[in-house]
């Protein structure tokens, strides 16, 4: 009997020892904690280390790129930055579990739909409105600025870069199908009619699926939203960003047209990333999940700017609309601070934001992303010429004036996104009658508004 007891004790000890050994192991958080606890002794002290989680915002998915920036920051300020890289597939879940566990990072890099209308609205972010002075407000793009503020006037994001999401077509395929007449290579715009003709020609030539309304979930919803909304000029939310209005008749009509269009298929088995892969390998002739970062490095395969796998030319296009002037979906990315109840950390996080988004280092930070600066100048440094030497980027600036309303800050955005996908899935699985589509639209738009 004693031996059993001894054994149990031994086991407990081994276990405890092992646990200690391990809990000391994640030195990153442990080490950062120690100085942080001493910090409050001095008033308004700045923590000596912070953690940053970043979504793959263009180049910010690459450790090499980000490390160069954070190392420079550390060298200058002495504040260490521990970086974790999230993906769009599981990033939200990771942040949410971390929040549930009370272990959120100090800094997060993403867009207002997450920072402002999700985590900000749920009370997890620090209000950083004191970081915007009048000069900042005049320098920052108005749409980007507005998107970073919650309705109550608190700011949960400091914008760094922005872009317009667009679509892309395979130019070689268009030429082969004799449909290149429908795209305007100069303005990168087209009308709904031209789009429909192009799809028709491509379908007649190649058959199969010309372009897919992907709706398997996860990322890339901006593409399908822009496609449907622009087609007959429907809206997604109201102008005040208080309610979802995608159940308007124009959207139903657009969904019906797309459903009926030969060559355009609703595909619930693929997500945005799969769509791009299918476009890249030549199966699809169009992609709706496109932006400048894709144009610079299609499918992240590193096999050439603006080329498909077979070397076909990729042309980026605005989404088709009746008058040829599209309302493009914007991407606005920046940094926000999670409220971990530690003033020193918050101070250090703000120092980092200032350094990145509003200082002489900003051009570097912007270039790292492969997107455009969200402001005209930063502390006297002119940002308009950041991409002066890059032809593709210059060409792409033609789309920027078409940037539409940034409505992703509407209440319940996370739920609305999923409702949108579920709606597309239901439309795709329906018989395509106007009634069935209208019913699906009404149901899920209602769901989005109920949140």
């Amino acid at each position: 009997m004693k031996k059993i007891l001894a054994l149990v004790m031994a086991l407990c000890m081994i276990f405890a020892l092992a646990a200690c050994g391990q809990s000391a192991a994640p030195a990153a958080p442990a080490a950062t904690e120690a100085p942080a606890e001493e910090a409050p002794a001095e008033e308004a002290a700045v923590a000596s280390s912070i953690s940053l989680w970043t979504y793959p915002v263009g180049g910010y998915g690459s450790e090499e790129t980000v490390k160069a920036i954070t190392d420079a920051f550390t060298a200058e300020t002495g504040i260490e930055v521990t970086v974790e890289y999230l993906t769009y597939a599981d990033g939200d879940d990771k942040v949410n579990t971390a929040l549930t566990a009370g272990q959120a990072p100090d800094l997060i890099m993403e867009g207002p739909e997450r920072l402002v209308s999700n985590w900000g609205a749920n009370g997890y972010m620090v209000d950083i409105s004191d970081m915007f002075d009048d000069t900042d407000k005049s320098e920052i793009n108005a749409a980007a600025l507005a998107a970073c503020f919650a309705p109550d006037g608190a700011a949960y994001e400091y914008p760094l870069v922005m872009t317009a999401h667009c679509m892309a077509v395979n130019l070689n395929a268009l030429k082969e199908a004799g449909a290149d007449q429908y795209v305007d290579l100069e303005s990168h715009t087209w009308t709904t009619e031209q789009f429909a003709e192009a799809v028709k020609a491509l379908y007649a030539k190649f058959g199969g699926t010309v372009g897919a309304v992907y709706c398997g979930g996860q990322g890339g919803d901006q593409g399908t939203r822009a496609l449907v909304n622009n087609y007959y000029g429907g809206t997604f939310t109201n102008a005040e960003h208080t309610a979802y209005t995608w159940d308007d008749a124009k959207n139903i009509q657009a969904l019906k047209t797309l459903y009926d269009m030969e060559g355009i298929d609703f595909d619930a088995a693929i997500v945005g990333g799969d769509e791009i892969a299918n476009f890249y390998n030549g199966v699809f002739k169009m992609a709706f999940c496109w932006n400048i970062a894709q144009q610079l490095n299609p499918n992240s395969a590193g096999t050439g700017e603006g080329k498909t796998l077979n070397g076909d030319d990729i042309v980026f296009m605005a989404f088709p609309s009746e008058d040829g002037v599209a309302n493009l979906q914007g991407g606005i990315w920046g940094l926000g601070v999670f409220d971990n109840g530690d003033a020193a950390k918050i101070e250090a996080a703000k120092t980092f934001i200032k350094w990145m988004c509003d200082s002489e280092h900003t051009p570097e930070a912007v270039r790292a992303s492969n997107f455009f600066a969200a402001r005209s100048a930063a502390e006297g440094v002119d940002l308009s010429g950041v991409w002066a030497d890059n032809e593709i980027m210059n060409e792409y600036t033609k789309l920027m004036p078409m940037l539409g309303d940034y409505y992703q800050v509407t209440t319940g955005w996370a739920a609305a996104r999923t409702a949108w996908w579920n709606m597309l899935q239901q439309v795709g699985a329906s018989d395509g009658s106007e009634d069935a589509i209208a019913a699906a639209v009404a149901e899920f738009c209602g769901q989005a508004n109920a949140q």
Binding site: M1, N122, D267, A269
Partner: protein, 298 residues
Amino acid sequence: MPQTVSPRLRRKETISAYLFLLPSLVFFLGFVVFPMVLCIVTSFFDANMNANKPDVFIGLANYVELWQDKVFLKALVNTIIIVLVSVPVVCVFSLWVASAIYRMKEGPLSFFRVVFYLPVVTGSVAVTVVWKWMYNNYYGIFNYLLKGAGLIEKNINWLGDPKYALACIIIILLTTSVGQPIVLYVSALSNVDNSLVEAAEVDGATNMQCFWRIKWPQIMPTTLYILVITTINSFQCFALIQLLTSGGPNYATETVMYYIYYTAFKLYRFGYGNAMGVILAIFIAVLSAVQFRLAKES
């Protein structure tokens, strides 16, 4: 109890039993039972992710809502379908494979055993990547083969069509489930008392009669064990669904397990998600009770 045991001895036995159980109980109570109790408690609250909104006690409201949530009901039905289909199919399939290979020579026998075990070992994350490609609408291997054989004219979007998606998930689940049952059946079949079989054959029993009268009763304990582990396995199909369909298309592959996760981390409704968990746990407990009652009776 055949003879009465003195209370002192019984107490001693109980104490020593619990000492043996202690290490295991620490983990089991600490990391399974305790969270389950928390789960039950939270299910009576309107618990959410909002840091500024305290949890409110709402009694049974979450449970009442569940029965009006058509997605939950659909998920429940799908979960039951997965279990009801995969458990018998795994049993029959592995029994067939086992009976086809158990009399082979050692070499081919262990080859097949290993082959059918491979998907289990490879892990669902890795296996899923390949299956996703095989099911691909545009250039997947199934459409390629079926079209080549002239069986279908138009590509079938396996995972994108509500008619097929759940079946596709179940097929992957099957390939990752049959490994252990086959190993078990092979040895159970080789342990069947051959003299009985031969005696029956002399009496003119047919193949079928031989199987049902002599072999089947002898492999019954194995079958029951396989029923148990396959049932467990069927409830672990989360990774497949998360990585392949996210519950779509049109909720065709929504399961309770995935919907709990979705409710918690996409809709931030912790209390509601926990209420689903409680229902699922009850469902599983009843199922296990039935299986073990069956086991006892035979």
